[in-house]
Amino acid sequence: MSRSGRLDDLRTRADQVLLLAGLTWKEGVRRRTILMGFLLTVAFVALYGTGTYYAFRQFDVQPDTTSMGGVGALGMALDPDFYRDLAAYQMLSFGLFVSSFLSAMLVVFLGAGMISGDAENGTLQTIVTRPVARVQVLMGRFLGYASVLVVYTIVLSGSLLLLTRVFSGYAPPHPEQALLLLLAQGLIVLGIVALATSTLPQIATGITGLMLFGVAFIGGIVEQIGTFLGNDTAAAIGDAVHYLAPTDTFFRMALGRLTPGSMALVGEFLTGPFGAPKGVETGALLYGLLYLAACLVGAALLFRRRDL
């Protein structure tokens, strides 16, 4: 094949992938899932905004420093906005935990049928017998859901970051990096779902996706407690779980991008139920990206071999 012929072929293949990805959005619009998702998201954001607004409107009352002992005194000494920032961060970590959980649920519910659901109900058979490679079909489906996830995460988590900033006045150091890490977390969930749906039935895929997300979250808590109590075994177990599914690692690295520098001294107080913030590590980032790539390559190989 000549060079221009190869280029044309590549363009045709890319067009087919985008055509299939676009179907995800068309379906969302036609079946009103996007409308319903948007309305409920607006309700969630409005509720969060109202809470944040009232919480910080009355925040001019300084808490009793004596009741908090030395730490409170230390905090007051470091930064006059210490309590405001602490409360704003806690609020944000709670809000983002819910939003990242919702993103994961969305991805699992939408993506579980990506291959197996469509194969079971007979939608896929007329598509893959067209001159498209199966890997193109997988890519089209993945990109469709990934774009939904990106828009959803930016709208939802972005709104929480913005509302917290406006109503509390607290400016997290790296909100854009936090958002990117949350996006990566969602994409890893989608990668797991893509791998599972290529070989497992739809229901099993949904269960696998949710369970792995939950296991990673619990692993994070075990590690947190282990570290807090100085129990190396618990910390090691929690750490190992993160290799199974690095979603929680990415969530905690995102939190780490939102804590102000003055809080490093009182790190343990930031250990809420939604995960302790974690510094961004190149190793963890690289592992997450490789994990996602491995999921997609595995999905492509399994889908290629699958009898439909």
Partner: protein, 331 residues
């Protein structure tokens, strides 16, 4: 006739290999096998489908019809044997560009309109939009802009046929394309198939509606328990002449007594709906047969040589292979 006129006996060395038969045939299978875990779906299928024919593929439920079509369309990977579709490997893009397929269990996105579905498939095929022509061909021109979710099952099947014809393919696989259609719809599909054949398209028709197959297919194969047990021209497979004698309703048990009186060199007769059918009766034997029936006290209303129907040929082929088949045919 290029293909083997009769099914080669199991293990016969005379069957053509896929490589040798190549170019002139639309489909060539040699010793094609498929296992699903521990069940055997195809036990060495030899098949040859010439270009430009409407090929009927018959068999009882679970015989392996759909599995074969899925292998030929690249959906299922064979466990062994050779297979060639349009001179290439099934499932390759080059082959898919020239192929159309209507699966037995299909479902189109319910939120698309019929026209949008055809445009989607045209884009995937890399051809221009031809939705207007195809919608008209299958009689859906008035419903083209309605959502598929609002279509009746029959309309969805018509749309499925239109979808299979996108891009003017050289070879079309239709797996039970008339199962949801009323008699008018079936006649429409028959006319479309004849029209396609006249234009040189090869049609591979999976069906258990034998009268449909008999009317449109010029060649056919019968599969049972994963093996092809007969293949050839439709007229060849139906050539066994049969004599049908209309005698009216018989009392229960009377038929067996009469059958015992008939000349023993004849194939076993069958009785259904007031007609006794005697396969393999030569013209010279007719007076003797009629005399026997009249002597037995039966009123003979009509005696005619009838070409055996495909249903009868089918039942005969499967007789002995399935204990229940004979009883069902008489009932």
């Amino acid at each position: 006739m290029d293909g083997p006129p009769t099914p080669p006996p199991p293990g016969a060395g005379a069957a053509p290999t896929a490589a040798a038969a190549g170019s002139t045939a639309a489909i060539v299978c040699f010793d094609l096998r498929k296992n699903y875990r521990d069940t055997l779906a195809l036990a060495g299928v030899d098949l040859r489908v010439e270009r430009g024919s409407v090929f009927g593929f018959l068999g009882p439920n679970g015989a392996g019809k759909s599995t074969l079509v899925k292998i030929l369309t690249g959906l299922v990977h064979p466990s062994g044997g050779q297979v060639e579709v349009l001179g290439g490997k099934p499932g390759s893009r080059a082959v898919h560009r020239r192929l159309g397929y209507l699966p037995e269990q299909f479902r189109f996105p319910q939120w698309l309109t019929g026209r949008e579905l055809l445009r989607l498939h045209a884009r995937l095929m890399g051809v221009g939009a031809e939705d207007a022509r195809l919608l008209e061909l299958v009689g859906l021109d008035a419903a083209g802009d309605r959502r598929i979710g609002e279509y009746s099952k029959g309309m969805q099947q018509r749309l499925g046929l239109a979808q299979a014809l996108v891009g003017d393919p050289e070879l079309v696989f239709l797996d039970e394309p008339t199962s949801a259609l009323d008699p008018i719809g079936r006649r429409d599909v028959r006319d479309i198939l004849t029209h396609l054949r006249d234009r040189g398209m090869t049609v591979f028709l999976n069906s258990h509606l034998l009268t449909e197959v008999e009317r449109v297919c010029d060649r056919l194969a019968v599969i049972d328990k994963g093996s092809v047990i007969a293949q050839g021209a439709t007229t060849d497979l139906l050539q066994v002449p049969g004599l049908s004698v209309r005698v009216g309703e018989l009392p229960v048990g009377a038929f067996d007594a009469i059958a015992a009186l008939l000349p023993s060199n004849l194939a076993p007769p069958t009785y259904a709906a007031g007609v006794i059918t005697l396969p393999g009766v030569a013209a010279g034997e007719v007076p003797a047969v009629v005399r026997t029936l009249v002597d037995a006290g039966l009123p003979v209303y009509e005696v005619a040589f009838a070409r055996q129907s495909l249903e009868e040929a089918f039942v005969q082929l499967l007789q002995g292979r399935h204990p229940g088949v004979n009883g069902e045919a008489r009932a």
